[in-house]
Subunit: 197 residues, 4 copies
């Protein structure tokens, strides 16, 4: 099988999951709102959550794109691993809404945990997908770039632990936990803009 | 006509149907929920239903992908058969929500039946699509792999009966019926991971 | 510009518009429904409306596909005409829901008219798109098939009138009007399955 | 990295954002509406808002398409700039609903401002994306058309200011502001249909 159809399907899921995020913002402003301006300002966590999740899904898309440049062919197991990965990514809009809605209320801790555990699961699936393909060069191109392959491995391994750490911070301060999710996305963009290619 | 645009359209429907499943989970947690943590735990059937349907749609996508590797060209009848197939697949989010919402209530049997009948219809359409293309090698590539063609035929034929059986179990036990839907997906992934290519 | 990116965008809109139709069915069954089985039977017009609109959008996708096989290049005006066409197609889920919800009630006539006028607008945009591309062979391939080009022109011209006729029937009988929309889709599939290629 | 996967992802976001607009129209007609015909006429601003936003997103898609024809390769920074751009475009359905719902009420000014600021942000991101790629020919094709490159630069620079102006008009007259958004889209289509290629 060729990798191109996997890319079409994956790009579809990435694009839809990212674009559906706006429904969460939309649902925060009911039709019979009192003062629209106040309401639009009051829901500022929704905008921030929208931006963080959109950029995070965008980063995942860039990563997937980057992995696929090193892949020569796909097999059933790799396709199923990708389905598991996409299952996690398509889940992101749900905890995003929870965080946007509850970060200022009693549900802040549980919302931050839900977001973090979704990210941990996603990071684990990125590792499963990548190491299945790369161990013993199983699915890699014959001319796969050794430096890129090692670089991906090194950057994926700490992913689940970083998000687990950020999630557990929610037991102390849900706000700090959510700021860490934001910081992870911002740092990733800055770092790979400076040093990536 | 070339098969590539059919793949783009089909991949779009597969990706959207799978990604829309999260809206069902989302709708289970109203904005004014009491205790968010309790609520997130209480809706566990939604997570399971999400995962089963996402993986089931993913399996169907892999199957469609696999069929298309053997197809040389498409004609109008084949396109219409595919539209019928995609019509069934795009329907899946609806019975998925019914199962998630009703499996612990009075509507369990009807929800399990709705899910099962959708799967039966989908499996029938997979057969219609495949046998239209493969009988007398109508649309197959000249170098289509005989073993693969026979393998697809053999694996598609029992599909509707398996799902019909699982659906009818709902008259005895809706929970058992739903566990069978889960088992079918898991077995398929395990089996074709071990023996597929 | 090459036509391929127009196809990607158009296929996206076709696939999403078709897949969103299931949200209309879903919205007909509230979470706190009394008897689920009765409710699932009671909403049968939703299933029919879903199927008719899905197949109709599918037919439009096949037509668009068919037109594009004759197109060599695209210009800005052709892209804008396509955006107008896709605007109409993306609108279809709305009147579909109206018909499903109101065909047995006081709003039957208005729902049937809304559906019909959407189809008239879509058929007009198909003509605009096609004749802009085909008059004086403006955007056609040098080796465009004369018989196919004439065939498309002949089949597109009556489209708006047929749907206008079916829409106006709603003033006498909304049900008859809706049955005509169904008949148009069925006849198209049957006819082009028998005589198309 | 090759630009083609960026196009697939971007086309997905464009197509979904445009197609989701119909959900805003749909939400304006509740299921238990009194007189359906009156209700369908009463929500006319929704149709206009739908058309303006659909065409505006379509114009953005044409522009993105046009930029990409001049691009030879993409790097991480360009991908992230595109994610920022798509984040703005996927946001459009939200202010579109606000305008449709509030333009005749007390929230008219705030809705018009929300729409305008979204467009300003989108126009800024178009500039960021384009000038990152084109300054010093960083990512342009070796044979990029000098006239096209200069033309894009010249047409993008005033974009944010034009939309800022139209937005600020909302402090005097929200209706005039919204009519300007409409006029910008119409003028763009007419102008580039006449002089574009």
């Amino acid at each position: 099988m060729s990798p191109s159809r996997l890319e079409t399907f994956a790009d579809g899921v990435f694009a839809i999951a990212a674009t559906l995020l706006i429904l969460n913002v939309d649902a925060q402003v009911p039709g019979d709102v009192g003062n629209l301006g106040d309401s639009l300002i009051h829901i500022w966590p929704s905008y921030l959550a929208y931006a963080v999740s959109f950029v995070t899904i965008g980063i995942m898309w860039v990563n997937h794109h980057w992995v696929m440049t090193q892949i020569d062919r796909v097999d059933r197991r790799f396709l199923f691993a990708n389905i598991g990965l996409l299952l996690c990514i398509a889940f992101v809009p749900f905890p995003t809404r929870l965080v946007a809605e509850h970060i200022r209320g009693a549900g802040a801790r549980d919302a931050a945990l839900a977001y973090g555990f979704t990210m941990v699961a996603t990071a684990i699936m990125f590792n499963v997908t990548w190491f299945y393909a790369s161990v013993h060069q199983r699915l890699l191109r014959a001319d796969a770039d050794r430096a890129i392959v090692t670089g991906i491995s090194r950057s994926y391994l700490p992913g689940p632990w970083i998000y687990l750490g950020a999630a557990l911070v929610a037991f102390v301060s849900p706000t700090a936990s959510v700021l860490l999710y934001l910081a992870i996305a911002v740092l990733y963009v800055v770092e790979s803009s400076l040093f990536g290619n």
